[in-house]
C-alpha cells in the first residue's frame, strides 16, 4: 500500500475529511446543532415521583478526602428528605477529580446533557467552577457550591442567576481574620503559610495585605499541602518568636500534623486555621484559633450523621453541601409544584431561597444576594452569613469566642 496508490488514497481521504468539516461547520454555524442544548433551560421536565439532582465533587484522586465528605453529606440530606417526603429525590454523582479540571468540565457537560437533572450541588473547587460555568449555563442548570470561595466568582457578575454558594467568600473571611489577629490577639509577628492551591492563596494574600497595612511583621511561607507530610523543614523556618501562624488550609489532618511538629520542635506559636480546617475530629491542637460560620455543634443533625454515614466522624468540611442540597431540593419542590418544571424555574427558585434560621444547618438564615455589593456578589449569601472565631481548648473541644 505504499507508493502512489497509498498517496492518492490518503489524499482522497484527506479531501473527504476536509469536505465533511466544511459541510458540518456550515450547518453548525447557522443552526443550532441537534446536539446543542439551546433551549435546555426552558425545556419542560416531567417531575414525576422521583426528582434528580447532580452532585459534583472530587470523589477519587488527590482531594478525595474532601470530596467524599461533601458527597456523604449531600447523600445524607437526600436520605433524610426521602424519609419525610412523599416525592423522592435521587442523586447522580460526578467525580471531578480535583485538581484536574478536565474532569470537572466533563462532569458539567454530562450533567447538562442529562435531561433528568434539575439542579446541581457543587463543584467543589473555585477553578472547577471556572471551567464548569459555560457548560452548566448552556444547559440552563443552577449550581450551588459548598466550598468554592473565590470572591471573583460572584463579584464579576458573569454567573448571576446560575452560580450560588452556601459559604461566605474569601473577602469576607480575610478581613475578619486579619482584624482578629490585629485587635484581639494583638500579634506583632505573624507567619502565613499558604497551601499552593487556589483557596489558600486567595485567603493568604488578603490577610497578608491587611496585616502589612497595619504594620504587623508578616513572613510568607508556602507548602504543598496535598503532597507534603514532612513539615519539619518548614517548621524550622518559623522563627521562635512568632506569635501566630495563619494556615488557610483544607486538610485538617495535615494541619494537625503541622501543629504537632511545631510543638515537637518547641515552638510556641498559635495556629490560626481557616474554615477548611474546622474539624473537631482531626484538628485538635490546643490553643489554636479557627474561623468558621457559627453552626450549632450540638445539632441533632450532626449527631445523627455521626451515628449514621459518618461512622463516628462529623466530616464538617462537607456540612455546607448538606445546606446546598437543601437549597436545591426546596427549589425543585417549588418548581415541581404543578407536576413539571423547567431548569430555568428551578434556578429562579434557588435565587429566591429563604431558609429561616431554625431550619438552616448553617446557623443562620439562607438568602442570596442579587446584585454586586462588595464584598458580596450575586450568588453569595446575604448577611448575617459571616464568620465566627473559635478557640480549641486543652482537651480538643471547640468553643466560640468571637
Amino acid at each position: 500500500m505504499k507508493g502512489r496508490t497509498g498517496t492518492i488514497a490518503a489524499l482522497l481521504a484527506l479531501s473527504a475529511a476536509l469536505a465533511i468539516v466544511a459541510a458540518a461547520s456550515a450547518t453548525t454555524n447557522r443552526a443550532a446543532a441537534p446536539t446543542a442544548t439551546v433551549g435546555a433551560d426552558k425545556a419542560l421536565i416531567n417531575c414525576g415521583r422521583t426528582r434528580t439532582l447532580g452532585v459534583a465533587a472530587p470523589i477519587t484522586g488527590l482531594a478525595a478526602s474532601l470530596g467524599q465528605q461533601q458527597l456523604k453529606w449531600a447523600n445524607y440530606f437526600v436520605t433524610r428528605y426521602n424519609r419525610s417526603h412523599r416525592n423522592k429525590l435521587r442523586v447522580v454523582s460526578g467525580d471531578t477529580q480535583l485538581p484536574d479540571t478536565a474532569q470537572a468540565i466533563q462532569v458539567a457537560e454530562r450533567f447538562a446533557s442529562n435531561s433528568q437533572i434539575l439542579g446541581v450541588v457543587g463543584p467543589a473547587g473555585s477553578q472547577e467552577v471556572q471551567v464548569s460555568s459555560a457548560p452548566l449555563r448552556s444547559g440552563g442548570l443552577g449550581y450551588v457550591s459548598g466550598s468554592a470561595t473565590r470572591t471573583s466568582l460572584t463579584t464579576d457578575g458573569t454567573r448571576r442567576g446560575y452560580f450560588f454558594r452556601v459559604v461566605p467568600n474569601d473577602d469576607q473571611q480575610g478581613p475578619r481574620v486579619a482584624n482578629w489577629i490585629r485587635n484581639s490577639v494583638k500579634a506583632t509577628r505573624v507567619v502565613i503559610v499558604d497551601a499552593q492551591n487556589t483557596y489558600s492563596t486567595g485567603l493568604a494574600d488578603t490577610v497578608e495585605r491587611l496585616l502589612k497595612a497595619a504594620g504587623i511583621n508578616v513572613q510568607r511561607e508556602t507548602v504543598s499541602e496535598a503532597t507534603v507530610t514532612d513539615f519539619s523543614s518548614l517548621v524550622a523556618r518559623i522563627p521562635a518568636n512568632t506569635q501566630v501562624v495563619y494556615v488557610p488550609w483544607q486538610v485538617s489532618s495535615k494541619a494537625q500534623l503541622f501543629g504537632e511538629q511545631l510543638r515537637a520542635a518547641g515552638k510556641t506559636a498559635r495556629l490560626f486555621g481557616s474554615d477548611g480546617l474546622f474539624d473537631p475530629d482531626n484538628f485538635k491542637i490546643p490553643n489554636s484559633l479557627i474561623s468558621f460560620f457559627p453552626i450549632d455543634l450540638k445539632s441533632s443533625v450532626i449527631a445523627a450523621y455521626r451515628r449514621g454515614p459518618g461512622g463516628g466522624k462529623s466530616d464538617l468540611f462537607g456540612l455546607p453541601s448538606y445546606a446546598a442540597a437543601d437549597v436545591v431540593a426546596r427549589a425543585i419542590d417549588k418548581a415541581c409544584a404543578n407536576g413539571n418544571a423547567t431548569r430555568a424555574e428551578v434556578r429562579g427558585h434557588i435565587g429566591r431561597t429563604n431558609i429561616p434560621k431554625k431550619q438552616s444547618i448553617l446557623g443562620f438564615a439562607v438568602r442570596f444576594v442579587q446584585q454586586v455589593r462588595a464584598p458580596l456578589g450575586p450568588g453569595d449569601m446575604q448577611r448575617p452569613a459571616d464568620f465566627g472565631i473559635y478557640r480549641i481548648n486543652n482537651n480538643g473541644a471547640y468553643a466560640r469566642i468571637g
Binding site: 475529511a17 466533563q106 492563596t201
Partner: protein
C-alpha cells in the same frame, strides 16, 4: 505444533519455556501469530484490522468520527468524542518519541501544558493579547517544538531509565513552576499561580469563533487527520526507518552511520510540536487552564493509550485511545448505573461463552450460577433475613430479578461488601491457577461472588469502582497480549 509427532524416533520438540530466543526479530516472533491467524474469533478480528489497507482505515475512521455529532448528545460528544480525539493526538505525539524512537520520556505532558499555557497567554484576557488562532497556533507549535529540542539536548548523553528520570523532573518542574513559581512578568504573574489562566478565547479563524462542541470536535478531527497523515508519511520515510533502527539497537544504528543524536532531537521536537498543538485546542475547549491539568495522572493515561495500542503503530494509538477513553467514560458515575450493570452482566456472560466449551458445559455453569444464587438467597432469607433484601441501586427493569438472585445487604452492613470484595480478589487469583474440571466448578461461586460484590459495593461507589475495573483491565490486557492490541511481538536478545 504437531508435525514432529510424525516420526516417533525424533525427540519431542522443546516446550515453550526452554526454547532459546535469538535475536531481535519480528518475523520469527510472528510465526506463531501467523499460524493462529486464521483460527477463531481473535484471528478473524486480527485479519480484519490488518487486512484493511491504511488509507481505507483512515477513511473509515474519519467517516465514523464525522458522523458522531449527528447522533450523539452534547455531553456524550464532549466526553466520548472530544476527549478521545485529544488522547489520540497526545498519543500520536508520544508515539513519535516512545514508539518510533524508543526514548522513554516521562515529562511529555509538560509540552502539552506548555502549549496550553502559551496559547492561553497569547489568546486571553491575561495580558489582553487576543491573537486569532490562525496566528497563535503556529507560534505555539513551533515554540513547543523548540522546547522539545532544548529538552532533547541533555538526553543525548542519557540512556534509558536515566532519560526517564530527567524528563520526569522536567515534567514535575513545569507543574511546580506554573503553580508556585509564577514569576511576575509585565506586572502580573506569568502563569497565574494556583488560579491558572482563565477566560481563554475560543479558537478564532477570520472572525469565526468555534464555540459549539460540534465545531470544536470537527476542528480536532481535522487536526488528528493531518497529524495521522503526516506521521504516516514520516514513518515510511528515511527518518522513520532510521528511528526504528534507533529503537531496536542504538549501537548498531550508529555503526551504520545513522545520526543517532540528531534523530533523538528530532523525535523530541516532533513529539513536542504535536503536544503543543493538542495544548492549544485543549486550552480553547476548556477556556481555563491550571497546573493540575498537566500532572502525572494524564501522563499515565497517555502512556496506557500508546502501549495498549501497541507502540509504533498509528492505528494502534487510535484504537488504544478509543478503548481506554470509552471504557473509562462508560463507567463514569454520571452515567445511569443501570447501563454499567448491563455491561457487567453482558461481559461476564461473554467471557463465560468464550472460555467454557462445549455448549453443554456452558449451560451447566450458567445454570449452576443461577441456581446457586437462588439457593443462597433462600437460605439467607430463612436463616438471617436482616442480611438481605437491601435496595437495588438504579435497578430499572432488572431490579426484581436481581433482588431475587443476589444477596444484597441493607444499609448498616457496610462490612459485608468489603469482605466480599476481598474474597472476590482472592477467588479470582486462585481461579487463574486452577485447571480442568475443578476450574469449571470453581467458576460458579466466583461469578456469583462477583455479582454480589457488584451489587453491594460497586454500585454504591461507582467512581472508585471505575478505577478498580480500569486497573484490572490494564493488567489483564497486558498479561494476555503484552505487545498491545496492534503491536508486533518482539523477541529480545539473549
Amino acid at each position: 505444533m504437531g508435525s514432529s509427532g510424525d516420526n516417533p524416533n525424533l525427540p519431542a520438540p522443546p516446550d515453550e519455556v526452554d526454547r532459546p530466543r535469538v535475536g531481535v526479530d519480528e518475523w520469527v516472533a510472528q510465526v506463531e501469530e501467523r499460524r493462529d491467524r486464521y483460527t477463531g474469533l481473535s484471528g478473524l478480528a486480527r485479519r480484519i484490522v490488518i487486512g484493511v489497507p491504511v488509507p481505507a482505515r483512515l477513511a473509515l475512521f474519519v467517516a465514523f468520527a464525522a458522523s458522531l455529532p449527528l447522533w450523539m448528545g452534547r455531553g456524550d460528544l464532549f466526553t466520548y468524542g472530544i476527549f478521545t480525539l485529544l488522547y489520540v493526538l497526545l498519543g500520536l505525539g508520544l508515539n513519535v518519541v516512545v514508539g518510533f524512537a524508543g526514548l522513554l520520556d516521562l515529562g511529555y505532558i509538560a509540552f502539552f501544558g506548555f502549549g496550553a499555557y502559551f496559547y492561553a497567554e497569547l489568546s486571553s484576557e491575561h495580558y489582553g493579547i487576543h491573537w486569532s488562532a490562525a496566528a497563535s497556533i503556529p507560534v505555539v507549535v513551533v515554540a513547543t517544538a523548540l522546547l522539545g529540542l532544548v529538552l532533547g539536548i541533555p538526553s543525548r548523553r542519557l540512556l534509558g531509565d536515566y532519560l526517564a528520570i530527567v524528563t520526569l523532573f522536567f515534567g514535575q518542574a513545569f507543574v511546580v513552576f506554573v503553580n508556585v513559581g509564577n514569576p511576575t512578568v509585565a506586572g502580573q504573574g506569568l502563569t497565574g499561580g494556583p488560579n491558572g489562566i482563565a477566560d481563554i478565547d475560543p479558537l478564532t479563524f477570520l472572525d469565526d469563533e468555534l464555540t459549539s462542541r460540534a465545531q470544536q470536535f470537527y476542528f480536532l478531527l481535522l487536526a488528528v487527520v493531518l497529524v495521522l497523515v503526516g506521521l504516516h508519511f514520516l514513518s515510511e520515510s528515511r527518518t522513520g526507518r532510521a528511528w526504528r533502527a534507533l529503537r531496536e539497537d542504538p549501537l548498531a544504528a550508529e555503526a551504520m552511520t545513522i545520526p543517532v543524536k540528531r534523530l533523538k532531537l528530532m523525535a523530541f521536537a516532533f513529539g513536542a510540536g504535536i503536544a503543543g498543538l493538542a495544548g492549544c485546542i485543549f486550552a480553547s475547549v476548556l477556556t481555563a487552564v491550571t497546573a493540575g491539568n498537566f500532572d502525572l495522572p494524564l501522563l499515565i493515561t497517555i502512556y496506557a493509550v500508546v502501549i495498549l495500542g501497541g507502540f509504533g503503530s498509528l492505528t494502534g494509538v487510535v484504537l488504544g485511545a478509543i478503548v481506554i477513553n470509552v471504557s473509562f467514560q462508560f463507567l463514569a458515575p454520571e452515567n445511569p448505573q443501570g447501563n454499567a450493570r448491563l455491561l457487567f452482566y453482558a461481559i461476564t456472560l461473554l467471557l463465560l461463552v468464550l472460555s467454557v466449551r462445549p455448549w453443554w458445559r456452558l449451560g451447566a455453569v450458567v445454570g449452576g450460577i443461577v441456581g446457586l444464587g437462588i439457593v443462597i438467597q433462600l437460605l439467607v432469607e430463612a436463616v438471617a433475613p436482616s442480611w438481605t433484601g437491601g435496595p437495588v441501586v438504579e435497578g430499572g427493569r432488572l431490579a426484581g430479578v436481581v433482588q431475587e438472585w443476589v444477596v444484597i445487604t441493607p444499609p448498616g452492613h457496610g462490612r459485608f461488601g468489603s469482605f466480599a470484595y476481598v474474597g472476590l480478589v482472592v477467588a479470582i487469583l486462585i481461579l487463574t491457577r486452577l485447571r480442568g474440571w475443578i476450574r469449571t466448578v470453581a467458576v460458579v461461586p466466583a461469578v456469583y461472588l462477583a455479582a454480589v460484590v457488584w451489587e453491594n459495593s460497586f454500585v454504591e461507589q461507582p467512581a472508585v469502582a471505575r478505577w478498580i475495573l480500569f486497573g484490572a483491565l490494564l493488567v489483564t490486557i497486558m498479561t494476555v497480549r503484552p505487545q498491545g492490541l496492534l503491536g508486533t511481538p518482539r523477541v529480545e536478545v539473549v
